[in-house]
């Protein structure tokens, strides 16, 4: 099993969610996060006073997937979330040691 963490632009969330649903991803965890990468921050101006914020809002997706599905998940997120510009985000893949469904106690791929 793999644990996939993707940081994407917030406006891409719905599109990515639909695309992942279509390839059989049954669940994910979504959070609003802040950070910076090559895009750095942005400048805000209030009555001429400039403030540069160095953290930008992004959305973080966390998905647990079977070894078979994982490459497809990564590919789908990459293609759907891309706008061909800096700040599109990153995808990280980790090995996942175990998964347990709390309601039934099932473990492994059947718990996904």
């Amino acid at each position: 099993m793999k644990f996939i963490i993707a940081i994407i632009k917030p406006f891409k969330l719905d599109e990515v969610r639909e695309a992942l649903g279509a390839i059989g991803v049954a669940g994910m965890t979504v959070s609003e996060v802040k950070g910076f990468g090559r895009q750095k921050g942005q400048t805000e101006i209030y009555r001429g006073a400039e403030y540069s914020t160095n953290m930008l809002p992004k959305v973080k997706l966390e998905i647990a997937a079977s070894d078979a599905l994982a490459p497809q998940v990564v590919e789908t997120i990459q293609q759907t979330a891309s706008t061909d510009s800096i700040g599109d985000g990153k995808i990280f893949v980790l090995d996942l040691a175990s998964t347990t469904r709390i309601r039934t106690g099932e473990t492994g791929d059947t718990a996904l």
Binding site: Y46, R47, G48, A49
Partner: protein
């Protein structure tokens, strides 16, 4: 208040003083008895219910400008830790001004006894009954209690406006002491000079329909002096201090604009054509100024911003205040646009260059916008630009009168504020402690948080 009696002034003469004396006489005959004097002899006159109803409405519209209008406008611009402090200082200052107004303010500004500099009498509203009346600018009258209330809201909003320069660091107790002294030695005398029939600038024919000098230049200059004496906020200008809620600032801006119709159109003191002119001007000058501020931002290479729209709207409202019933609609549009550009540079270039911390730009918008409006009124009043001035109106002469009124207002505001701030400093101390300023005045001064 309206100054249409100026129509006949310019024709009258070589010497300004000869002219004004003769004209004051003319005015008294043509326009009816001056406000204060009228209140006793007009006992037989009965207020027109329509006018009375409009003035009651206008009065509460001005209250709407303060609470919640100005409180939200200013509150949104401060940091969230000072939201309640900002709104509470505004609300309490307005309430304090109301108390002082009925005790000695009305007497000092509009009392029956007095001279060209100050008046007295009717302290604690002595002798005023539901039957008492105050003259308008025609032979109509309105109930004196309504006039007292209407003028009371002007004292309240002017003092609240000053706070824009001192929020986020001034002690609540210091604000209360400062305002008590400031209203007494600055606001009431200036209101008398400009609006009372015996006042120096009223007699000179200074055009100030709804309070460009008394309210805006006065508040703006007082704000600047108070900010200079108080010092900068800790961390200004290196630490970011962006507005915590542009949403609330926008809501406050809308409430201010709506309430301003009471302020401007109500200053006709009747529901008549003059009020109608003030109404249309309060729409179009404001709309023009809001758009022009955003255009100026674009020209300067920035994005047109929400705060730009709000700031332009306020700048336009300020500028059209003295011109409301003294300008044609297209004169008002130009006046609003000019004020917007000038105020833009005042707050985004002049303030950083000079380095003072006028936190919410009370001087940059009310002071500067007020001056543009007061001087500009001499131009847009001319029939040449569609204004209501007579054919014999001379722009040059009026410019001199307007400039004198502006300069005198600046001088009285600056000196009086310096005295009032000094007294507050001696009585309570001016600034909150370092710890309270860093933690926020909401907790430190009021023991509450705006958002939980």
């Amino acid at each position: 208040m309206i100054r249409k009696i100026v129509n006949s002034a310019a024709a009258l003469g070589a010497s300004m003083f000869a002219a004004t004396a003769a004209w004051a006489q003319d005015a008294a005959e043509a326009v009816g008895t001056p406000i204060a004097a009228a209140t006793t002899e007009a006992a037989a006159a009965v207020p027109n219910p329509g006018n009375n109803a409009w003035m009651m409405t206008s009065t509460v519209l001005v209250l709407l400008m303060i609470l919640p209008g100005l409180a939200l406008f200013y509150g949104g611009l401060t940091r969230s830790k000072n939201m309640l402090s900002t709104m509470t200082q505004i609300g309490a200052t307005a309430a304090l001004a109301m108390m002082i107004w009925v005790m000695w303010g009305y007497g000092l500004a509009f009392g029956p006894e007095g001279n060209q500099y100050i008046s007295w009498g009717k302290f604690f509203l002595a002798g005023i009954t539901p039957d008492s009346t105050a003259a308008t600018f025609t032979d109509e009258v309105i109930s004196e209690y309504v006039f007292v209330s209407f003028q009371m809201t002007f004292a309240a909003i002017t003092s609240a406006l000053v706070l824009g320069a001192v929020v986020e660091r001034m002690k609540f107790s210091a604000v209360m002491v400062f305002m008590t002294v400031w209203l007494t030695i600055v606001y009431f005398p200036i209101a008398h000079l400009v609006w009372e029939a015996r006042g120096v600038f009223f007699v000179m024919g200074a055009l100030d329909f709804a309070g460009g000098t008394v309210v805006h230049i006065n508040a703006g200059v007082s704000a600047l002096v108070a900010a200079l004496m108080l010092g900068k906020r800790r961390g200004y200008p290196t630490e970011p201090m962006p507005p915590h809620s542009m949403t609330l600032t926008m809501v406050g801006t809308g409430l201010l604009w709506v309430g301003w119709f009471g302020f401007n159109a109500g200053s006709a003191l009747e529901a008549n054509g003059s009020a109608a002119l003030a109404m249309i001007n309060t729409f179009v000058a404001t709309a023009s100024a809001g758009l022009v501020w955003m255009l100026t931002e674009r020209v300067m290479g920035h994005k047109g911003s929400a705060l730009g729209l709000c700031s332009g709207i306020i700048a336009g409202l300020v500028a059209v205040t003295p011109a409301a019933g003294n300008s044609g609609p297209f004169g008002a549009i130009v006046l609003g646009a000019v004020a917007s550009v000038v105020c833009y540079f005042a707050v985004s270039k002049l303030k950083p260059a000079l380095g003072y911390d006028d936190s919410l730009d009370a001087f940059g918008i009310h002071g500067i916008g007020g001056m543009v409006g007061a001087i500009g009124t001499a131009i847009v009043f001319s029939p040449m630009f569609g204004g209501p001035g007579g054919d014999d109106f001379v722009i040059g002469d009026q410019l001199v009168t307007q400039a004198l009124a502006v300069l005198a207002t600046i001088a009285i505001s600056a000196i009086g504020t310096a005295i009032a701030i000094t007294i507050a400093k001696l009585v309570t101390g001016l600034r909150v402690s370092h710890e309270v300023e860093v933690e926020g005045l909401d907790i430190g001064e009021h023991g509450e948080r705006a958002y939980n």
